[in-house]
Structures are given as C-alpha cells and as structure tokens.
C-alpha cells in the first residue's frame, strides 16, 4: 500500500532528526547536527535492505517517491516565503559578503570538481542515467 512508503519515509525523517538533535546536544552545538542528512542515510539503507528482502513493491516505492517528486514545488513555496525585502535592505555589506562568499566557494568547487577523473565522470553519468530509468 502506498501509505507504507510514506510511513517509512516519515519514520526515517523523525528518527533522523531526533538523532541529529541528540548529536547536537552531545557535541554542544545549539542546533540540530545533520538530522536531515541522517534521515537520508536511514532511508537509503532501509530501501537497500527492503529491496533485498523483496519488501518493496511498486506501491510502497511510490509512497516515498511522490514526496521526492514534490520537492521542486516545495522549494518554490519556500522561495516565496523568503524575506527578500530584508535581504535587499541589508545593502552593500550583505550583498558583498554573500557575493564574495559565493565567488570564493565557487572557485574551490570548480577546482575540486576538476580533479575528478574522466573515468569516474563517465561511470557516474551511466549511473545517473540508470537512476532516471529507475524512476
């Protein structure tokens, strides 16, 4: 049933965020440390495990995949509630600080990504294509 997939997603989300809170408390950060990241890892493992045990019929997959597909619409809604007025009011300090940070990081990103070997890129391209077919 489709709800099984959604419930699995929900369980991973809740457990992940909880563990992230625990991690944050444990290391003294006043924030959740990677809760969503942990949730994603849990979901990845759950899916691998359930696929192996044949517990993942199409309907169950759809229950989670639907919410993944809702991702872009959710992001659009998120963009629509940003405090753009304040961001623009922040003026030169905010603008230059943000632009500078992005430009510096972009250079690092470009540098590191150029170090990826062509074989690795080709293999990844193939894998991504399979990922699309999976959907």
């Amino acid at each position: 049933m489709i709800i099984y997939g959604t419930a699995l997603l929900a369980a991973c989300h809740l457990i992940g965020v909880y563990l992230g809170d625990l991690l944050g408390v444990a290391i003294g950060a006043k924030a959740n440390v990677g809760g969503v990241g942990i949730a994603m890892l849990l979901l990845i493992f759950a899916r691998l495990y359930m696929r192996k045990k044949n517990l993942m019929p199409k309907a169950t997959e759809a229950g989670a995949a639907y919410w993944g597909a809702m991702y872009i619409p959710v992001v659009v809604a998120m963009a629509a509630q940003q405090n753009v007025v304040a961001a623009l009011k922040g003026g030169p300090v905010a603008l230059l600080g943000a632009l500078g940070a992005f430009a510096a990081c972009a250079c690092f990103i470009s540098l590191i990504n150029r170090m990826e070997s062509p074989e690795s890129i080709a293999a990844a391209r193939k894998l991504l294509a399979e990922q699309t077919q999976d959907r």
Binding site: H13, G16, A39, I44, Y71, V75, A77, G97, A98, I109
Partner: protein, 254 residues
C-alpha cells in the same frame, strides 16, 4: 459570491498553496519552453517567480514571510516551511545510489570544512572593510555568510545586538538566493554533473535551501547528493561559529 470563493481559499490555505504553486510551475515551464527554448530550466524560473512574489508579499505587508504574510497565501508558509521542505529533501534520498555517495564521502567532509571557514573569512573581511571592527560584529556577519541559520545562531550565542543579527540573516539570505539563482548558470564552471561534484557543491555552498534549489534547477537527479552533505553544514557551522571561529577572530582582532 467572490467573497465566498475567497473564504474557501482562506479556509483551505494549504490546498490553495498547492494550486498556486501548480499554476506557477505551469507558467514557468511555458516560459522556459517558449521564451528560452528550454535553456533556462522551468524550475529555475519558478524559483525566481517565487522570490519575486516573496518580495511583493513583503513589500505589501511589511512582514518577514514574503508571500505567506498575505492571508490568501498563508498556506505557502506550511507548504514551503521547514517541516515539508525537510520531508521532501529526505524523500529525494530514495533515488540515491549508495555506491556514488560512498565514493565521495571523504571529499564531502573536506568540502564541508572549507565551505564553513572560507565564507566566514570573506564575510568577516567584508564586515571589517565596512567598519565593523569588533570581534562580535565580525563573527556574526561572517557566520551569516556561511548560512542564514548559522549567522543568527552564532550571533545569539555570542551576544550580538539585534541589528547585527538582522545584517547576518540578510547576508545569509542573499547568499542563499545567489546560490539558488547562479547555480544553474554556473553549472558548467562548477563542473556540476556527477553525484560526487554535487556532494562537493553541497559541502562548499552550504545553504541547504540554496543547494537544493540550485541543484533542482540544474539537474534534479543531483539534488539528494548535494542535500545530503549540505544538511550537515548548518550543524557544523553552528558548532564552529561561536567557538573556533569566534575565538580566532577575537585573537586576531580583539
């Protein structure tokens, strides 16, 4: 009669948000096809429209939640809020190929650290250049350049004044918007085409909203890899901001 329709929309705010976003998406895909012949992703246009609506909403109401401050569109606040955003991000992990994620594990961690320290240095440097010379101000603004959550969390932890906090958030939001908008444009320069590159991007660009939106507008399949690393970014930033980074700033400029 129109009043009754408005009431229905108001009382079913989340449903109204679904309809509104659906309309934005149709409009964006048409604009993408007819105006840019597919060169600019429909999702990028949709996000830009979203930001434009956020500005309009903020200008109309003087509130902090963009379009969601307008009563008719209050459901946008739920649909795009942290809960559903995180839920949808986690869901994208469903398609992740574990081998790809494992391959980039170490480089992702390296990217995370560089992506926390470098923006901080730039932000604090810009603050210094504009006359903010005390360590608390420099740290708070520098933390804002990491992400718009790390900024205020750090500022609150070290006792920054509310206008510094606002400046910090503004810096972070502008950065998120720049990442959202510039990522598809700079995708070729950034060599964004493999899961590993997306993870490096996630670690260095940091802002989860920016990374996920930017990747969504570049190549949707890369979203989970970038988001996976980016979500640890906030935690690391909140950890290092009030501690290591603040102490270092105090040491050099205190």
């Amino acid at each position: 009669m129109l009043h009754m329709l408005e009431n229905v929309a108001l009382q079913n705010s989340l449903i109204t948000a679904f309809a509104a976003v659906g309309i934005i998406m149709i409009l964006s895909s048409q604009l993408s096809r007819r105006l840019t012949f597919g060169r600019v992703h429909g999702s990028a246009i949709a996000i830009l429209i979203g930001l434009g609506l956020a500005y309009w909403g903020g200008a109309q109401t003087g509130g902090k939640m963009g379009l969601a401050d307008i009563k008719l569109f209050s459901g946008i606040g739920l649909m795009g809020g942290a809960m559903l955003r995180d839920f949808a991000i986690v869901a994208t992990a469903f398609e992740v190929r574990a081998e790809e994620a494992k391959k980039a594990g170490l480089i992702g961690v390296v990217a995370l650290f560089i992506g926390t320290v470098v923006p901080f240095i730039v932000g604090a440097g810009v603050a210094y250049a504009f006359g903010y010379r005390d360590p608390i101000a420099m740290t708070t603004i520098g933390a804002g350049a990491v992400t718009y959550i790390v900024g205020p969390v750090t500022g609150a932890a070290i006792g920054a004044s509310s206008d510094l906090m606002a400046l910090s958030i503004a810096t972070g939001v502008v950065k998120a918007i720049i990442v959202m908008v510039m990522t598809p444009v700079a995708a070729r320069f950034l060599r964004l085409e493999t899961p590993r590159s997306a993870m490096v991007f996630g670690g260095l660009a940091g802002t989860v909203s920016g990374v996920s939106a930017g990747l969504a507008a570049t190549d949707r399949r890369l979203v989970p890899y970038g988001a996976l690393v980016a979500t640890f970014h906030t935690g690391l930033g909140c950890l290092m901001g009030p501690s290591v980074l603040f102490l270092a700033t105090k040491y050099f400029f205190g």
